[in-house]
């Protein structure tokens, strides 16, 4: 990729996003089908309410933190596209953070640029921000937290983590891996944790220092002992500070907006079950039971697979933080009771962080994975179209398509796990001194 560097790539991406925002304005004004995401109109209405001194929750279906409405107040004061530019800027920031994280981990520039391009030029991601979806902000903050942890800035990481869990509940699933990985960091002479560097050799895992590092991650041979060792000054501070910030924000907004805030921005997301069709395998089950409710046993059974998978992935891969977060997010979305395409961006932003450690060749295994994932999704969309836009009763076919999509997600996940070269982000304590001395030499 000698013809382009990061600055040019970001410039090109910014131009592309600007053009798409302008095009969106034109399409909204001239065509019946809007380019702008319907949620963006909700955010904008909520922001207009805030600008008028009212509650953002007066806008029906606004189910986000009031902070989002505050961020978009300039939509009413400056220009309606302010939010889209803000989200697109966050989108570019994700590209910048991907490069920074990979650079810290010693990935060569050429490979970094390919990884950044996998985010910036993914058609799914650049349409998300320009249509006015707020997820790029969440992605940017998650990546910034990873950067903070890698740089040993625990308080800053805790601040952003508390804030982002308030902003969007789902990153709560990252709490345990963050704590585990923080308990493994060892501060070097530069007052920063010593990071394990990327190695092009296929046997990256099995070099001199790998023995200690492999043992340093919890693994499954001794699950409970490492759990005890996670209680360190850093992890306690991280937990206390982020938790306090989360509860302070919750109390503050509860004080300002009352139960509307608690019900819409928090409880709705925790208890959401949608009987309308969505990618989740549970939608038809929920629809068939929505009239009489759910037994405790049914709730437990649907909760079990998600919990099992999350714990298994955390205790297996927490040391390799970006990979752990990625597989966790894919699994979380796949086993969630509600799944819409917007959720895919949650793991798309983490994908570039794991590519340099994958030994899977694009040709043909990589392409097959992409094909399986997309084909099963398009297959689902076909049945959804027939149900929703043709009015034909294809509930059973659509539900089976959801199961097929879950199987596709699982297969892709298994392939990624199989071909991933496990690489903890931190050097273990026993070797960090050696590594630092080598670095100094």
């Amino acid at each position: 990729m000698g013809w382009i560097d990061l600055r040019r790539m970001l410039g090109l991406s910014a131009l592309l996003r600007l053009l798409l925002v302008c095009y969106g304005e034109w399409q909204d004004a001239h065509m019946e089908v809007r380019y702008t995401d319907v949620d963006y109109l909700v955010f904008s209405d909520a922001a207009a309410m805030v600008a008028a001194g009212r509650s953002p929750f007066e806008r029906a279906t606004y189910r986000y933190s009031p902070l989002l409405a505050y961020l978009l107040v300039p939509n009413s004061l400056l220009h309606p596209s302010w939010g889209k530019l803000l989200f697109s800027a966050a989108d570019l920031l994700v590209g910048l953070f991907v490069d920074a994280i990979l650079k810290l981990r010693g990935v060569p520039e050429d490979l970094r640029l390919w990884s950044v391009a996998a985010w910036l030029f993914n058609p799914f991601t650049f349409t998300i921000g320009t249509r006015g979806n707020c997820e790029p902000i969440v992605c940017a903050v998650i990546l910034w937290i990873i950067l903070c942890i890698m740089n040993g800035k625990v308080f800053q990481a805790a601040f952003w983590y508390g804030l982002i869990v308030h902003f969007r509940i789902y990153p709560i699933i990252y709490a345990l891996p963050f704590v585990i990985v923080l308990s493994k960091q060892r501060i070097g002479p530069s007052r920063k944790p010593t990071l394990r560097q990327w190695n092009s050799r296929r046997d990256i895992l099995y070099n001199n220092s790998s023995s200690a590092s492999a043992k340093s991650s919890p693994g499954w041979n001794g699950l409970w002992a490492p759990l005890g060792s996670t209680v360190t000054w850093d992890t306690v501070m991280f937990g206390l500070f982020s938790g306090t910030l989360f509860f302070l924000l919750t109390i503050m907004f509860f004080y300002i907006y009352g139960w509307d805030f608690l019900n819409e921005a928090l409880l709705y997301h925790l208890t959401r079950t949608d009987p309308r069709h969505n990618f989740s395998i549970y939608f038809y089950h929920v629809y068939l039971h929505h009239q009489q409710g759910f037994a405790v046993f049914e709730k437990f059974v649907s909760f079990l697979p998600q919990t099992m998978v999350q714990l298994a992935l955390i205790f297996s891969f927490a040391g390799d933080l970006p990979f752990c977060l990625f597989v966790q997010t894919v699994a979380f979305v796949a086993f969630n009771k509600v799944m819409t395409a917007q959720y895919f961006v949650w793991f798309f932003c983490l994908l570039p962080l794991i590519l340099p450690w994958s030994s899977m060749k694009v040709k043909w295994k990589g392409l097959i994975c992409m094909f399986v994932w997309m084909a099963s999704q398009i297959h689902w969309l076909m049945w959804a179209y027939i149900l929703e836009f043709k009015g034909r009763n294809v509930f059973v076919q659509l539900w089976l398509a959801s199961i097929l999509f879950l199987v596709a997600n699982t297969l892709v996940l298994l392939m990624l796990i199989r071909y991933h070269k496990y690489s903890p982000i931190f050097m273990p304590l026993a070797r960090s001194g050696v590594a630092n001395s080598r670095k100094l030499e």
């Binding site: 089908v33 995401d37 319907v38 109109l41 029906a60 279906t61 993914n122 799914f124 349409t127 979806n133 895992l205 790998s210 023995s211 590092s213 492999a214 043992k215 991650s217 693994g219 499954w220 041979n221 009987p275 309308r276 038809y284 629809y287 068939l288 929505h290 009239q291 049914e298 079990l304 697979p305 099992m308 998978v309 298994a312 992935l313 891969f317 597989v327 819409t340 395409a341 997309m374 398009i378 969309l381 076909m382 959804a384 179209y385 149900l387 836009f389 043709k390 009015g391 009763n393 294809v394 509930f395 059973v396 539900w399 199961i403 879950l406 199987v407 997600n409 298994l414 796990i417 496990y422």
Partner: protein, 310 residues
């Protein structure tokens, strides 16, 4: 074909999946059989003008809700009929308006699936008279749709149409929730204000209201479909003199012909109660199998790493 593509894009607006949308459009160019046309019945009735009241409130329906204090327990039609059934208080305009008559009201559903348009065509008689009336007055038709539980109108979509000047004004009263299924919902009322249409040389004056409606998920039904029946709207005319600063007046339109008009029916796919056991079992088993395969893969992958490192 264009409407087909438009429908897909509309759907993908919710799915936020433009890239796959493009792929889907290409793959979906094989025409899908149209199916639900038989469910779109046509309703037709004739009406006339009676009554006349000074009126300056923004919405007629708001007075109903102000008095009832409940969402929709009693019939709004009875209330409106009782409230605006007789009287003649707009002295200046009563004689002028008496000649204005509605020759025809046609109703039909346009589109397929869960997102359709309820099209109401109001045709007026006395073309020469209405022309002179509209020269001296600003008139608009007020259409009040009392929606059944199974369908709803999206207030924000209606506001978008008001913004685009398709409607003069629009409001939704009652259960405005856009997401709940029928079993957990209540009824709603839509009030739309539209300018009286322009003259069509062949058919006289007519006003066409295209009201976007959406189906809720219906209660379970063994037949696989639920039928939602859309009743007759309440129609009013609202006029204000262009010259004087006079108070606007409202006229109610009631039926001339005694014969009941055919209702508009909407067939909505519904879940089948008989599927409950098998769907729950297969759902949970498949979730468990997929979860276990990931758990096993994760554990073996890490244990393999640890073994190799020793």
């Amino acid at each position: 074909m264009l409407s087909f593509i438009r429908d897909i894009l509309w759907h993908l607006r919710d799915q936020k999946l433009m890239v796959f949308g493009l792929i889907f459009i290409v793959s979906s160019l094989i025409k899908v059989d149209s199916y639900n046309k038989i469910s779109d019945h046509v309703g037709k009735s004739s009406q006339r003008l009676v009554g006349c009241w000074p009126f300056s409130e923004a919405y007629l329906t708001s007075s109903y809700f102000a008095q009832q204090k409940s969402l929709f327990d009693s019939d709004c039609h009875d209330y409106l009929a009782g409230e605006y059934s007789s009287g003649d208080f707009c002295k200046g305009m009563a004689s002028e308006i008496s000649l204005l008559q509605l020759s025809d009201l046609q109703r039909r559903l346009h589109g397929e699936g869960s997102h359709r348009h309820l099209i109401s065509t109001l045709k007026f008689m006395n073309r020469s008279y209405i022309r002179s009336l509209l020269d001296s007055h600003d008139c608009k038709a007020v259409i009040i749709e009392r929606l059944p539980i199974g369908v709803f109108a999206d207030l924000f979509e209606l506001q978008h149409l008001v913004h685009r000047k398709v409607f003069v004004d629009a409001a939704v009263f009652g259960d405005t929730n856009l997401e709940l299924p029928s079993a957990l919902s209540n009824r709603s009322i839509v009030e739309v204000h539209m300018n009286i249409g322009h003259e069509n040389p062949l058919r006289g004056y007519e006003t066409v209201l295209e009201l976007p409606l959406h189906a809720r998920y219906p209660p379970l039904d063994d037949s696989g479909y639920a039928e939602v029946q859309l009743g007759h709207p309440d129609l009013f005319l609202h006029c204000r003199s262009k010259e004087a600063q006079s108070e606007p007046c409202l006229w109610r339109l009631t039926e001339v012909n005694a014969g009941p008009a055919e209702a508009v029916m909407w067939r909505v796919p519904s879940g089948n109660d008989a599927h409950r056991g098998i769907v729950s079992s297969v759902t949970f088993v498949s979730a468990l199998v997929c979860a276990l395969s990931i758990v096993v893969s994760a554990i073996t992958s890490r244990n393999k790493d640890v073994r190799r490192s020793r």
